[in-house]
């Protein structure tokens, strides 16, 4: 088994990890499916208001690849098709039946067709471009990471307890598309992912972003120009495996509610289209401004209580907004209660040395403030410290800002996704919106190349 040891990176200490319990939620009456969540897909509706759908019936398909469809997570009636500017579909509201009625698929067809028809293809992402896999591409490999190292990340050992057979079924199905590679956390004895068969296993050791599939691809099978690699999240893989076992599209998943602004951080069982309020209602501090993040605090998306959680969501983070803090001469304060990645503050020495020895791990204050103004890139070498890939991140970012396609290609733009740059954005002294830059550049790159 290949062993990868990463030195670069950064683990961010936060409080508010989800307890290993599953909370009960009020089942929402209307599920809202948001086409915008499906990265790189332009929706063409296949239903209209008043239509009856089953769990697994098509809702819309992609404009470019008509065979790439998105299906309903529940059975019920399409009650609303909400459109925004220029008649863009904002969401499709489905009023769920009390008892879910599933479309029964015939599992005798080939894997790719089944995935496309069931709508589960949308769970497969691809590099380059970090979008939903294009059905026309032949991948050279499919990568699955079995762990997440982001702050307060869900524990997949707990999330997928008892679903080993589904994961194996998912791997068996996907291995008909391309060889499957599964990344294990080094020395993680609590999960039994190491027993998976029909795939190539490798183990990764190191701080965040060791669990990011992009980093793992870069070390195991780097993507060259013209190649495509598919990636699947481990929980999504279990959903795919369940489909190939039962022939029904059951998209139920566990999300972890995390963060010290949540009263009872724990896991919740949801379906795609569930509004955030279903799990945050009465469970988040109201005495101060907070933000709800679909995903982790490093690369998630801020949403309101009424908006739906993303269909690939594994974690919801609640973070203090911090707008009411007005630090007087903040540039001079030692900030003993703030975490500092670089040793730019004397606090770091105290925290890691004396403090740790006396009181154990320190609890830091976190909020959503940027804590500085945007500048040109000044400090050098800081991205490299948290970017464990064989890529020059600063040079690549500069090429992306300049929109230089040739340079981006040469510097490895095909291998990266915004989430790989999350720590760069966190650490950036010049406060650049690094992930937004990468996202926009990849979208443009896709437009130019494809």
């Amino acid at each position: 088994m290949q062993q990868i040891k990463l030195k670069k990176g950064l683990d961010i200490p936060m409080c508010g990890a989800a307890a290993l319990t599953i909370g009960s939620i009020n089942r929402p009456t209307v599920y809202k499916i948001v086409p915008d969540h499906y990265a790189g897909l332009t929706p063409k509706l296949m239903v209209k208001e008043g239509d009856q759908v089953k769990a697994g019936s098509p809702l819309f398909h992609d404009k470019q690849f008509a065979e790439l469809i998105v299906t309903s997570p529940v059975s019920g009636k399409v009650v609303e098709i909400n459109r925004g500017e220029r008649r863009k579909v904002m969401f499709i509201g489905i009023k769920a039946d009390i008892k879910t009625d599933y479309v029964q698929f015939d599992l005798k067809q080939n894997v790719k067709d089944l995935l496309l028809q069931s709508g589960l293809w949308a769970y497969i992402k691809q590099r380059p471009y970090d979008c939903i896999a294009m059905p026309s591409k032949q991948p050279k490999a499919i990568f699955v990471s079995t762990f997440d190292t982001a702050p307060l990340a869900p524990d997949y050992g707990f999330v997928l307890a008892g679903k080993g057979n589904f994961i194996q079924a998912g791997i068996n199905a996907l291995s008909e598309l391309a060889p499957v590679y599964v990344g294990l956390q080094h020395n993680n004895k609590t999960t039994d992912f190491a027993a998976l068969k029909n795939c190539t296993l490798y183990s990764v050791e190191g701080p965040h972003p060791a669990g990011n599939v992009g980093v793992q691809i870069n070390h195991v099978a780097p993507i060259a120009k013209g190649e495509t690699v598919f990636t699947v999240n481990i929980q999504d893989l279990a959903i795919i495996g369940q489909f190939f076992t039962t022939g029904q599209v059951k998209q139920e998943r566990l999300v972890a509610l995390t963060g010290d602004m949540a009263f009872e951080p724990q896991y919740f069982r949801i379906l795609p289209g569930t509004p955030a309020s279903a799990i945050t209602h009465c469970n988040v501090r109201k005495d101060m401004a907070t933000r709800i993040i679909c995903g982790n605090v490093l690369s998630g998306t801020q949403i309101t209580e009424d908006e739906s959680l993303c269909y690939r969501c594994n974690q919801v983070s609640i973070l203090a907004e911090g707008t009411e803090k007005h630090e007087f001469m903040g540039w001079l304060l030692p900030r003993f209660n703030d975490f500092n990645a670089k040793t730019t503050d004397p606090a770091k020495f105290l925290d890691n040395g004396l403090w740790y020895w006396l009181f154990g791990p320190k609890q830091y204050n976190w909020d959503a403030r940027v804590k500085g103004g945007r500048r040109a890139i000044i400090v050098s070498g800081e991205y490299e410290k948290v970017f464990p890939m064989d890529i020059y991140p600063e040079q690549l970012i500069k090429a992306m800002i300049a929109g230089n396609i040739d340079k981006m290609e040469q510097l490895g733009a095909y291998e990266v996704a915004p989430e790989d740059f999350a720590l760069c954005e966190y650490i950036c002294t010049s406060k650049l919106p690094v992930q937004a830059i990468v996202k926009e550049a990849l979208t443009n790159l896709k437009k130019e190349i494809e």
Partner: protein, 404 residues
């Protein structure tokens, strides 16, 4: 504090678009972010948490690192002055004399700090207002370094002109902090060096005239020469030469390390520079790779000259002396490590530093016209840093191309 915040923000409304003082919005903004950390929060997409470290904190750390060199430099300015006038006799130092020397130095150096900040920040504010941007903090460091690297006898108006030239033509025309190719403080010095060469010769580094509150026409002691050790080396007529201080006593290694010798304000004391270096390295603001490789490069080339090849006073000076004399250490710690003008790849920093050290010694030894090679060598390598980076990145690109 909350009350002050409210008053300050209400005052700030005057500076907004359409307000009475909207022409000065960058000015207000600079003070606003100086007083209160901005409470703008992260975007909807991207990282929601950010490190507390920003441009202001980084720059202020460099300024802090420069403080020991400044304080020692102030004392040394006064010390050298009173040595020249005979009020301090070498080896006899009392507490009163110490403070007298420091006070003289303080009053002599302070005008340079004020002039450099007024001129430089003034230009920064105006440019920021024209471009409708926030005022960048880069000049906080530049403005602090300038007084430390110009001869203490330079007329103030020359410093003002040189600072203005450097900020406008070495920085703002390129786009401001972060886009400049050459180190702005060094351009200031280079401008003085080439525009007013008679004021930059090696014997102008001791303040012989008075300063605020001190008599202007003091008699100098017999046998006084203001020449810095490196000037002495470059003008020496014999191939083996013993450097002396202003009164003719020989200077050894530890004299150069302790720094009670004539030179630019900040450059003489290695201990003070070392303190700054420790702070910069501990906090990760400056690159240890650049610093180390400069000393390795300089030491190695000086050692090669020691062995043979060239036979002049500079070449025969022991290699370890080269590393502690003149601006070598100061340049290595504070000037070459400027991230904007230095090589930006980690591998490139080794090459960049090594070549700076090597070139500095080569200039010292082979070019008697410029007794101090550090300034020219850093500026030269500033110009080559992008090329070094290009080569380093090219290796990565070629590796990727081979995979395809």
């Amino acid at each position: 504090m909350e009350k002050f915040y409210q008053i300050w923000k209400r005052f700030g409304q005057n500076f907004q678009e359409g307000g009475k003082l909207s022409k000065l919005s960058s000015f207000y903004d600079a003070f606003d972010t100086f007083l209160f950390t901005p409470s703008t929060t992260a975007r909807k997409i991207g990282s929601h948490i950010h490190d507390g470290n920003d441009s202001k904190r980084t720059m202020i750390l460099v300024v802090l690192a420069l403080v020991p060199a400044l304080l020692f430099g102030m004392f040394n300015v006064g010390y050298q002055h009173f040595l020249a006038t005979g009020e301090i006799v070498k080896g006899a130092m009392t507490c009163a004399l110490f403070w007298k020397a420091f006070a003289f130095g303080l009053l002599a150096v302070l005008p340079y700090i004020i002039v450099s900040y007024l001129v430089g920040l003034g230009i920064e504010f105006v440019v920021a207002q024209i471009k409708h941007e926030e005022v960048a903090e880069g000049f906080l460091v530049t403005g602090f370094i300038i007084p430390l690297i110009v001869p203490i006898g330079t007329p103030l108006w020359m410093v003002a002109v040189a600072t203005a030239f450097a900020v406008i033509f070495a920085k703002e025309v390129f786009g401001g902090t972060g886009y400049n190719i050459f180190n702005v403080a060094l351009i200031t010095r280079a401008f003085l060096f080439f525009a007013y060469p008679t004021h930059m010769t090696g014997d102008k580094f001791v303040r012989t005239q008075g300063t605020w509150g001190w008599d202007n026409n003091q008699a100098l002691v017999d046998g006084f020469t203001g020449a810095t050790p490196l000037t002495q080396l470059s003008t020496a007529e014999t191939a083996t030469y013993t450097m002396t201080d202003t009164l003719g006593n020989p200077i050894g290694f530890w004299d150069a390390v302790n720094g009670l010798i004539p030179g630019s304000v900040g450059e003489t004391c290695i201990w003070a520079i070392l303190l700054g270096a420790i702070l910069l390295l501990m906090t990760g603001v400056a690159s240890w790779k650049t610093m180390l490789s400069i000393f390795v490069g300089g030491g190695l080339v000086a050692f090669l000259f020691n062995i043979g090849g060239v036979d002049n006073a500079a070449a025969n000076t022991p290699w370890y002396m080269h590393l502690v004399l003149g601006g070598f250490a100061f340049g290595a710690v504070f000037m070459a490590t400027d991230p904007v003008t230095s090589a930006r790849t980690e591998c490139g920093k080794w090459i960049y530093g090594f070549l700076i050290g090597a070139m500095a010694i080569v200039i010292r030894v082979l070019n008697p016209g410029y007794p101090e090679g550090m300034m020219l060598s850093i500026l030269l390598m500033n110009a080559f840093a992008p090329l070094i980076d290009w080569c380093v990145v090219r290796v990565n690109i070629n590796k990727r191309l081979k995979r395809a």
